[in-house]
Symmetry: C2
Subunit: 341 residues, 2 copies
Amino acid sequence: MRVRLEDVARATGVSPKTVSRVLNEEPSVKESTRQRVLAAMESMNYRPSPAARGLAGSRSFLVAMLYDNNDNPASTYLAEIQDGVLDVCDANRYSMMVCPLRLRGKDFIRRLDALVAEHHIDGVIMTPPLTDDAPLLHRLKEHGVPHASISPQRREGSIGVCMDEPQAAKALVQHLIELGHRRIAHIVGIANHGASRWRLQGYKEALTAAGLPYDPDYVVQGEFTFGSGVMAARELFALPQFPTAIFAANDDMAAGVMWAAYERGLKVPRDLSVCGFDDTPMATQLWPPLTTVRQPSREMGKLAALQLMELLRGRGTGLLVQVPYSLQLRESTAAPPQAQG
Amino acid sequence: MRVRLEDVARATGVSPKTVSRVLNEEPSVKESTRQRVLAAMESMNYRPSPAARGLAGSRSFLVAMLYDNNDNPASTYLAEIQDGVLDVCDANRYSMMVCPLRLRGKDFIRRLDALVAEHHIDGVIMTPPLTDDAPLLHRLKEHGVPHASISPQRREGSIGVCMDEPQAAKALVQHLIELGHRRIAHIVGIANHGASRWRLQGYKEALTAAGLPYDPDYVVQGEFTFGSGVMAARELFALPQFPTAIFAANDDMAAGVMWAAYERGLKVPRDLSVCGFDDTPMATQLWPPLTTVRQPSREMGKLAALQLMELLRGRGTGLLVQVPYSLQLRESTAAPPQAQG
DNA sequence: GACAGAAATGACAGCGCTGTCAATTGGCGC
DNA sequence: GCGCCAATTGACAGCGCTGTCATTTCTGTC
């Protein structure tokens, strides 16, 4: 019925253990034997049973992608990452499980324990804000499960992938300044996300670099959601002298800002410049298309998974790879209404 | 180290096999024994090893979610479905694997074979357009893998979940007609999706019911993507007498229509009414908010998974559950520019 | 050409569970 | 109180692989 390792062994005239060695790319197998075994595997269309491998061996060939499905409004972000991770897992003959966690609910540690206990997970990929949850990280360390992070806040000691977000945000705001804007507002994201901090930081740095004052009234809290962008924008529009440009910490909130602008009868970019961050598909689908920063999520998922694979292979200790950002200058930003000094 | 079934057996004073029976909810276990075993499992925090269960038994407790990541632009749709499926799997102690297939590439059958051969998948959840791919269905039948579908085209013999899409589309177009529209265009979706057929059908039925003529010029082909919506709208705007309302087969294309309208200087809904289908988050984030049909994707994922669970439990033969739709009347539709007759 | 040591291979048990089939127990009629 | 059948439980092998450790086959050396 099913082709087993033993069948391949018999066909090749070697012991099952040797076939196992070839399967697991263990070093001490003579090249000629290796080739014969591989050929037999191929011709017999042999497929190792993950269950048996997991049961007998120490590895499960399973990685879990952990994410917080409370605090991740932009499903496209997660979907793209998942896609990238899956790609790399597939290529490396690993399976991937998706595992939504709820940081707020306090059972997420138990969910993790269950995952490790039941499935013997080999490794974990995490997305923000899980990447920086101390209890979670601690537990992973206790379990001894290797993990790679996407955009973790702590750079030292982290493995995975990141972007120079402060620099990207700074460049974006500098673009606004170059267009002539002086009253630039910022809508911050959810507090425990590194992205929120970095983007705010870049905003501040750009102002400082240009010698512009930092006005706390121009910095309002959002939640990375469209709705929170609307609310934040309304708040800003209520200021006696409202900004000529708004930099929202992500595209969803930027879309909310544009919505609120229309609601108020403001034309973008004539009356107000708007920019976001992430370059989700939505960015090019807004009217006018949104100026933003491209973040290559799919690629980042791949890179994080690749780092994890390195760890699992026992080669090296894993890196925190940095991917380049790129500004996407579109029609939602322009010179401010009245040229000021 | 690890708590095994044998440990639970010893603690309860029964044989491992009896514990196994309890674990698998087999009938012939005395209730008192059952309770004792369950109590021991609980107190010892016993977690069965899926690998061992899969290896020894005939079930793997694994279901795969199959989707085509070529032809599914709306990642939120898939993400929501995945979320729903995952929910139900979790609750039933099943694991879920996600498995993107590419119908176009001809290796997808091999991918499926590998999935079945390696992981001994217990069941499959499919999304359009996979639900109606003959070779795929045939192969699943050959493998004897139970499967549930989300919005399959063939109603008879299918198991899973669906919506009365023709009726929903008809109701939507009737709404336009009631508003006074007479020249209503439709943008069709990708050809091999049932959704495309059903929504077109509903469109036609509404016209017929109202005694309006069917004008082929008013029906243009799209691909469910934003970009294709833009193109289709431009095509329609090029007609000598262009429509006063456009019904796009999904929200993404409707967004494209609105984009194209702005591009041409048309105001929605003053100059043009636009409506979509699906009620993705985007629908409320457009300006003006989009009139559309709500499709409860998450719920549909759950229901399909529940049907699959029924199948896997051996209870009943599985149903094709129908979920209700609901019209979301928002500001993108209004009376046509000039009241006609 | 014999020998040490490395390289390559194999024998065997067992991972944690379930399927099969046999054994035990309990209930009931007479 | 005995026999019979159904309900309940248990013994045991084995799923397909890998870890451990033993064994064989090469190298090169003196």
